[in-house]
Subunit: 372 residues, 2 copies
Amino acid sequence: MLPRPAEIIIPSPENLVIKTAGYAAASGTTPLAPFSFDRRDPGAYDVQIEILFCGVCHSDLHTARAEWGGTMFPIVPGHEIVGRVVRVGDHVGTFREGDLVGVGCMVDSCQSCSACAEGEEQYCEKGMVGTYNGIEKETGSPTRGGYSERIVVNEKFVLRIPDGMDPAGAAPLLCAGITTYSPLRHWKVGPGQKVGVVGLGGLGHMGVKLAHAMGAHVVLFTTSPDKRDDALRLGADEVVVSKDEEAMAAHAGTFHFILNTVAAAHNLDAFLTLLRRDGTMTLVGAPAHPHPSPGVFNLIMQRRSLAGSLIGGIAETQEMLDFCAAHGIVSDIEIIPIQQINEAYDRMEKGDVRYRFVIDLASLKREVAAAA
Amino acid sequence: MLPRPAEIIIPSPENLVIKTAGYAAASGTTPLAPFSFDRRDPGAYDVQIEILFCGVCHSDLHTARAEWGGTMFPIVPGHEIVGRVVRVGDHVGTFREGDLVGVGCMVDSCQSCSACAEGEEQYCEKGMVGTYNGIEKETGSPTRGGYSERIVVNEKFVLRIPDGMDPAGAAPLLCAGITTYSPLRHWKVGPGQKVGVVGLGGLGHMGVKLAHAMGAHVVLFTTSPDKRDDALRLGADEVVVSKDEEAMAAHAGTFHFILNTVAAAHNLDAFLTLLRRDGTMTLVGAPAHPHPSPGVFNLIMQRRSLAGSLIGGIAETQEMLDFCAAHGIVSDIEIIPIQQINEAYDRMEKGDVRYRFVIDLASLKREVAAAA
């Protein structure tokens, strides 16, 4: 068991009253380590959730290592949260004690701008409040994520995990699932369409499952020939090794939509040229370094679009969870104790996970109990 | 008068029978000079047009100087053609002698693929045949453009110039007009929308006129503060000097659509960040060197799109001409004799034209008559 370093325990304002154990990075070059902090007492519209599982997203790593800039340390990552409701505020109508619920990338937004009014809280014009590395309106303190025992969230940002869904496999749906579901829906993917998914990682494996369930003909692009069998098992109709120029050329101009999940800089033109007229490639991975500039002619010649997409709204996230339940979809995961989070980051960085690490927070409970 | 160099007169296959004078570049580093070639005798579905005016497009310069690669020399540029029908094939039903007509960037396409079937011949899956630097199916010879006395074109690729429209001012509509009209229509620009036009050149000044006529609130972005009055006169509601960071920031996140007409590499992020949620910036200028790579976060954060668009279909080009006639729109032009084409290229390259050079082909007729 790791010692809990006293120097990264921050003082608690008086209105933060629930002592909570978690794991935090103290700086961009420090491993994650035990960290104690306070959660606010649930307000009238809040739900208190004891966390059971939390998925490990590439964004966690980018943020913990300050690769995107703007990280407020100490940072408690984690925004693929599944847990059990243990307490609800007086005016909470949707949830009650014992419910199995989820929390994704957001815990708040202005709830009054046009984006919020249209159920697109992720694009809130005032800025949505991230589940970690945001500022909690109720306390003015940084938000802290799901690498922790519990979380307190306004019920509007709490999702219901459908009955019978595996709670550990459900966790990554809260980010990887909605991040791929939302653009597939927005660009109207369905039967009769040829859809590409670039990259078979945490996002990509969800993209394959979801696009397949939506009825599209799915082609998975990967640089790893050894992922072929997995991709076919997950629902891909075809697998193309993207370094194989001949195989790529055979697909030129044929895709209605390409979901690009790769979070490392790469040649976008190789995929843009695969789009048919009016096709769109949507980026959901945000690399730390820019992609080589895409060729303007490749956009002009078939009126192609290069777009981006950020997670999805709360209502759409619930729709995604229900869609997954109806189609028997969860994430393919490897469960780890929280004490292995730093090794998991190293493996994730090398692409050595099929396809998402999920922290079993029982490991944290045991650590806390042993320390008590 | 320039001598007609014998060495760039190419031999004529037997089925090319109409001697035609024009101006050609013999190489990417040679000024345009008189050049004699043959046009095919009109077939049953062809229209023979005596050219009155031809606009001077940036593509002419890029192609003549081989800046995009792939130029077949000698090259006779020109794809903003207005002329008078002097002869029609036996099965031509749409046009007759004396009609004032136009020819734009295409003179043929496969006419059977889905793009052609949907009236998007510019995106023909077999490749449309350019008015110059293409291969004429009837003869196997390179197509030659409007810097010439006459042209022979299948009637399906001939446009009707509306009654009362100035033929010289109409010429640039055949490329600059449709290149800006088509994306404005495709992305559904209209009343209640805030639309940006980047660059006030041949394309940009048409974009301002057309977006204004469509009822949008139009903001013109320019690097030249001295174009402000012109932009307002042309129909812009606001003018922003794009180097003024404060003025740019005031428009952040507010545009439904931005039409980017600049054909030189520049910072796309400065404009992408001005788009609101689900906004699109469409590139219609193709720079010889790539733009700096746009930031992925700028696409992701408001689900923005970066797109391209190529001219427009034949039916849409006729629609554009009729729209322009209904709104009293033609291009702002400076008429030149063909003997000044090289000086015009030099001036165009410096942005020294308001806003399109148009060649008066009477100057070529006089030259031919004098040489006879």
